[in-house]
Assembly symmetry: C2
């Protein structure tokens, strides 16, 4: 853990911050502050000088104005679940935690819209929407703790993105606070809007570097009444990829086509101390179908199941009840803890390529990992070409290496090169943050980076808003 | 028609342009040039000094570099179907017509992607995709003549947007030429991508003011095998709006819920010299369902039909064959020519409000039109809250008034105020262009306009790319 940064607000600022948000919402205690020094990215942390927890747009604006006046860096923070060290206050200063702005302001049944504060936890929103028969489709795996503000900052995706798209496809309005405390409102409960440039999509996915989101208007959908999961073990990644393509080409649109490579299935088996069924099959798929009509759903899953068997599936297990579905997802859900327990994970990547290049991607990444005496653990969202590629060293539990160690950086650089050479890019949904900052030039046109830096300067000329992120 | 602008390239430039694109692709003849002086927005035109028709990215880059060096304005042009005067070269200079860059470079079945040049006519792309069993969902009504480049510049929508979204939801990669001739590539055949700021969505909908699109990678979908149209006459706009909301809330997702107010239906009847069925009903809806499975489709249209009758529909006419479907769409398709023939149209607006505010919007707009002794003709996309509101003076055929006449501007300003007061905005899919430039401050936050102008300056510091558009 690094010591607090040298960019420190003076005592005068601290007392002004206490006036703005209330003394109990300014955190300066060193132990309490450690919670705000890191997110879920292994190996990255930096101590802030303090953390503040505003409860309203006006308070956020006042904090930003004060910080701006004193040139203090501000790192906005949602649930702290970033996997690109996006919430790490790398230059110290103030962590602006939106955790207290957690109200759902409006659930609008007639327009299928909701208005939420940024600190609303994804899972809490889901519960409230469920009571109204609605749902918010983006489904990052961290949904029990991640916030809507964080989802917006990262343009979060998830398994359901193949059918429903990502966060930006659901944000139709924003209220944001700019670096100097100015409040700016964009859009509304509108499904079409071409009035001026699309600043909403510019801010969504900007990782808190352009503005602090204080309210979002989001599209929601009627909650599908029926969900069916199919667990499909296949012999190879190639087979799995061709099957997924054939399902999509036939006009079926599963909510999810989730993938686990054999190595991952077997590792979860070791961790759970019982073999998963068909654990010698090298590619397990979970196909999730959703809809509102039982009869229609049955037609669909019969056909998809037939296609799977024709494509060489060893079996098709069908889960319709909540309990059966949970069993189908068990291995997938345990991947995180299993990998942590069975190997020292040195890289957690979220690579994306054109859907049909996934078999090549995985083959090349396996070779790459092997060359460094490491193992590739590949799983993720086959339906949209987005694969989580964790690299670990089996048998070792504590990562001796920090992600920034030179040989780890070398492995990651090779992985990114392989991905970009296949027409892909280095981050599909986790963001650039701090952890990919040295690799952005592999994936982006030099001119594009230049334009992005200029845009950053327009919104934040003094580089105070989540500084040290995204661009080298 | 205004005379050629005083911003004229010198003869030296003309000969260099001839060297770049070939002499036959530089148009200086005054009669031929008149085609490039206007688009489909009534009342707006301006003569360019010349038009050039490059055939490649390299030629576009060379033209831009030359124009930039001599500070000559360049107005990019697709099919010339803009309804916001977006393609009118208001400061003269060069019209850069992309009509010769009309190749479909790739239709990628495995990834459901296509790579196209900007001058591809939407309808031609649709034909090529149909042969591969695919389709590109955005469906501007001008699809027989509009181009994909124009669709991207305007972020075009259309009736199907309620199910499928708008153009920006389908663009995953762009090659663009910047004002100084630099070529910039963004994205690729990728369904998820959070590497850096979203410059693609910034350029989509930027009306040719930031960059010239020279290639686009677009998502396509399996073409639905079955399409069924229902024609549903209801007694009032309120009834129609509540029915549409109930269909959506029940989890049905029609491709289209198109709406025609009674005045429009009757006017088309007068034009066709035969009454449309149920022409005394004040709201006609067309609900289009699409899918790949006959049995599923039948379940759906039965239920939607029942819901319509319960909501007070006078009748539900079902069109399944191409001929029957064409008959259902006939009145809708004839609206444009009927209104032109039966009234002097002084305003053609594409307003958008939260879906449930449409009845209020139409009532208020009717009153507003009546106050000026004009008639409101309302039709459009009820499913996504986007209503085309034409205002005309019955019995007069040639519009004596130009759109810029003060009383017309006054009517339009009132219409926009009404829309914004209902939580809406002034343009859903036509763009700001030239025709709404004086009204943008009604709909956008001052700070937002300021940021947009800064972004324009980053991309085009000398204001040479489609100058005089979008911002006052």
């Amino acid at each position: 853990m690094d010591r607090p940064s040298n960019i420190l607000p003076s005592d005068g600022i601290v007392s002004q911050l206490r006036d703005i948000v209330g003394p109990e919402h300014v955190i300066t205690d060193i132990d309490a502050l450690e919670n705000y020094a890191h997110d879920e990215t292994p190996g990255y942390s930096a101590m802030p000088a303090l953390a503040v927890k505003p409860a309203s747009t006006a308070e956020v604006a006042a904090v930003m104005k004060l910080a701006h006046g004193h040139a203090v860096p501000v790192t906005p923070r949602g649930g702290g679940t970033s996997l690109s060290a996006g919430a790490v206050p790398v230059l110290g200063g103030i962590v602006l935690s939106l955790e207290r702005m957690n109200r759902i302001r409006d659930i609008d049944q007639a327009n299928l819209m909701a208005v939420v504060e940024p600190g609303v936890v994804h899972g809490e929103l889901d519960k409230a929407l469920a009571q109204a028969g609605l749902f918010f489709p983006p489904d990052p795996v961290s949904l029990d703790s991640c916030t809507i503000g964080g989802n917006i900052a990262e343009n979060a995706g998830g398994p359901r993105a193949m059918k429903y798209g990502v966060t930006k496809n659901y944000v139709t309005g924003l209220e944001v606070v700019l670096c100097d405390g100015t409040v700016m409102r964009l859009g509304g409960k509108l499904l079409k809007n071409v009035t001026g440039y699309d600043l909403i999509d510019l801010i969504v996915g900007s990782e808190g570097t352009l503005a602090v989101v204080t309210e979002a208007t989001i599209r929601v959908l009627p909650r599908p009444g029926e969900i069916i999961d199919l667990l499909i073990p296949l012999d190879s990644v190639e087979q799995a990829s061709l099957f997924a393509q054939s399902v999509i080409a036939a006009g079926f649109l599963p909510a999810v086509i989730e993938f686990m490579e054999g190595e991952v299935v077997r590792t979860v088996g070791e961790y759970l101390k019982r073999q998963a069924p068909f654990s010698d099959a090298n590619a397990h798929l979970i196909v999730e179908l959703d809809g509102s009509d039982k009869a229609q759903m049955r037609i669909q899953y019969d056909r998809v199941g037939e296609m799977a068997l024709r494509a060489g599936a060893r079996d098709v297990a069908v889960g319709q009840s909540a309990a059966d579905r949970e069993r189908i997802w068990e291995v997938r859900r345990k991947i995180g803890e299993a990998l942590k327990s069975e190997a020292a994970i040195i890289a957690r990547e979220d690579l994306v390529v054109p859907r049909n290049r996934i078999p090549e991607l995985i083959r090349s990444l396996q070779t790459c990992a092997r060359n460094y005496k490491a193992t590739l653990f590949a799983f993720g969202h086959l339906g949209d070409g987005n694969i989580h590629a964790d690299v670990g060293i089996r048998g070792r539990r504590e990562p001796k290496e920090r992600p920034a160690d030179p040989w780890v950086m070398q492995v990651r650089r090779e992985m990114y090169r392989i991905t970009v050479d296949l027409g892909g890019t280095i981050t599909a949904e986790h963001g650039v943050g701090l952890s990919k900052i040295d690799f952005i030039t592999l994936a982006l046109d030099k001119t594009a980076i230049d334009k992005m830096k200029h845009i950053k300067r327009i919104f934040d000329p003094a580089n105070l808003l989540n500084p040290g992120k995204m661009f080298p």
